[in-house]
């Protein structure tokens, strides 16, 4: 296969870097995805992800208006993600209110992003934000993803039992005196940061799929939460490496191919297994 021969070619540093980005982001996709599935907050993650466009648009507008060269869209994206996660977490208590908050931040975030871009002179191609382009990921992004992986692994290692207790039965955890709301906010924040960094890989629209499909696939087999995380990392890595290889060989956009790979893996294995862990 030309993909594998390209990988071993000493000149294709770039392709190897892309692959590393994919493998390291799998760690975040798998662990945060398992949390997202267990707490049933995939639509919350979707809202956080879409609101990011508002932050990116705002930063691009400010940057052009005041000629702030140092201003990176990443800062706007992080701010928007954390803000929307905070709004939903803080004001979205109760199922009905949460649904309204999710819908509102989702759509308003995107709308603001488009408005800011309209107000900014020049033309912007937002396709890479919406659908991701792993080939555009820089060395700095790779470093940030590795730092995020380390933070996430340390956090879930240290608080594993507490996270398990809260995911399994939040009310009981609260009755035992755990600071359930604090952990909820912390984990929402961590989810928001993850979403921002992972958008580079699969884009705003599809990041929700990588936070749900590998973890859901893992849920078909896992017997413990940690096992589910480990399996989700593996399934995520398979989808990303397979997706990069296919998109390289077939010369198609990487983001959508990765998502389709993750989807095919889930549906095929769920059909074989009988849909035990349905979303």
């Amino acid at each position: 296969m030309d993909f594998f021969s390209a990988l071993t070619n000493p000149d294709s540093l770039f392709l190897r870097q892309t692959l590393l980005v994919g493998l390291f982001s799998s760690v975040t996709f798998g662990i945060i995805g398992t949390y997202v599935i267990s707490r049933r907050i995939s639509y919350l993650a979707g809202a956080v992800s879409h609101s990011v466009l508002g932050g990116i648009g705002g930063v691009i507008w400010l940057k052009t208006l005041f000629q702030l060269e140092w201003l990176d869209p990443l800062y706007g994206a992080l701010l928007a993600a954390l803000l929307s996660a905070f709004i939903i977490g803080r004001f979205g208590s109760g199922r009905k209110k949460e649904e309204i908050m999710i819908g509102a931040t989702w759509a308003i975030g995107m709308a603001l992003g488009i408005i800011f871009m309209d107000m900014t002179p020049g033309y912007f191609d937002i396709t890479s934000y919406l659908f991701g382009d792993i080939l555009l990921v820089s060395v700095r992004d790779l470093k940030l993803i590795i730092v995020l992986d380390i933070v996430i692994i340390l956090f879930f290692y240290r608080f594993y039992h507490i996270v398990t207790a809260i995911c399994f039965d939040e009310e009981f955890a609260r009755l035992r005196g755990l600071k359930v709301d604090l952990f909820y906010q912390l984990l929402l924040g961590l989810t928001a940061v993850s979403v921002v960094l992972l958008i580079r890989v699969v884009g705003i629209v599809m990041v929700i799929a990588m936070l749900t499909l590998p973890a859901a696939t893992a849920g078909l087999y896992a017997r413990t939460l940690s096992g589910m995380m480990l399996l989700a990392v593996i399934f995520s890595a398979i989808a990303i490496v397979g997706g990069i290889a296919l998109s390289y060989s077939a010369n198609l956009s990487s983001g959508p191919i990765i998502i389709v790979c993750a989807g095919v893996i889930y549906f095929v294995l769920a059909a074989i297994k009988g849909d035990k862990y349905s979303l």
């Binding site: 267990s38 240290r158 608080f159 507490i162 399994f168 009755l175 035992r176 939460l225 096992g227």
Partner: protein, 266 residues
């Protein structure tokens, strides 16, 4: 430990969800060492009453004292078994890890955030108590409904409670397991006060000493006085009395009795 000091003391309590009154003018005292059951129809406020006792809900009016303090402060002394419906039946977790969450407040002090050494022993003892000592490594999601129920009771026991609150412990289990369950509860009752919720008055009346009827209002009967009339009044006219082998006192009494809610005068 059976003293006559009330550990639950509820006075003139009102609770409503939005504008729908659920509990009205509830007065209730549960003594230390009691084994009591809350019965009543669905939607009558049984679970709401438990959640008020746990401090998960706040009354609009009236007071609740548990162990002479607020429900929030008394929580650590209460072992609670919720209804299974609020749990994800497919959640990947072992039986041991479910039961260990009863000790979760004691974990996470060290750098590794693990459980203290004694926790596993307490969890094992709690599982043995409910007859599931051999299930420790099994997956929770592969158990039957009745086994899960007992695991959740073991989790409540693992908190080393002084008061055990059980919400519908008899749902999901057949009548033979039900008899076993009540034997277990009678044994546990020597060590702790037990308050359970059940919609099944026929069974509870054989085991518990007093029945607390909750249908918006709370009325307490010694079990000896449970009869068809009372049951009809609690549930409305259509209730089928399945078991006839418990004692009935034909004198009965009215649910509109002004002394209702005060057991001492019954």
């Amino acid at each position: 430990m059976r003293s006559e000091m009330p550990i639950i003391r509820i006075k003139n309590l009102y609770f409503s969800y939005h504008d729908n009154p659920v509990l009205e003018d509830v007065n209730l005292e549960i003594d230390n060492g009691e084994l009591a059951s809350i019965v009543g129809p669905n939607g009558g406020g049984k679970t709401t009453l438990l959640k008020l006792i746990l401090g998960l809900l706040k009354p609009q009016q009236g007071t609740i004292e548990i162990f002479n303090t607020t429900p929030e402060k008394a929580r650590r002394k209460i072992g609670y078994m919720p209804q299974q419906t609020q749990l994800d039946p497919q959640f990947p977790i072992s039986v041991l890890d479910v039961v260990l969450t009863g000790q979760i407040d004691r974990c996470g002090k060290g750098l590794t955030g693990g459980f203290p050494k004694a926790a596993a022993g307490i969890a094992q003892a709690a599982l043995t108590e409910v007859g599931l000592g051999d299930f420790i490594q099994k997956s929770f999601n592969r158990l039957s409904g009745g086994q899960r129920q007992r695991v959740l009771i073991a989790r409540a026991l693992c908190t080393e409670p002084e008061l055990l609150l059980l919400d519908e412990p008899t749902s999901n289990i057949d009548s033979r397991s039900e008899e076993n369950l009540y034997e277990t509860l009678a044994r546990l009752n020597r060590k702790m006060t037990i308050l359970l919720v059940s919609h099944d008055i026929g069974f509870v009346s054989q085991f518990v000493k007093s029945v607390i009827c909750v249908n918006h209002q709370v009325i307490i009967h010694p079990t000896s006085q449970i009869n068809g009339t009372i049951i009809k009044e609690i549930y409305g006219g259509d209730f089928n009395l399945i078991r006839h082998d418990h004692r009935c006192d034909h004198a009965g009494h009215s649910h509109h009795d002004p002394l209702s809610g005060n057991r001492k005068q019954l």
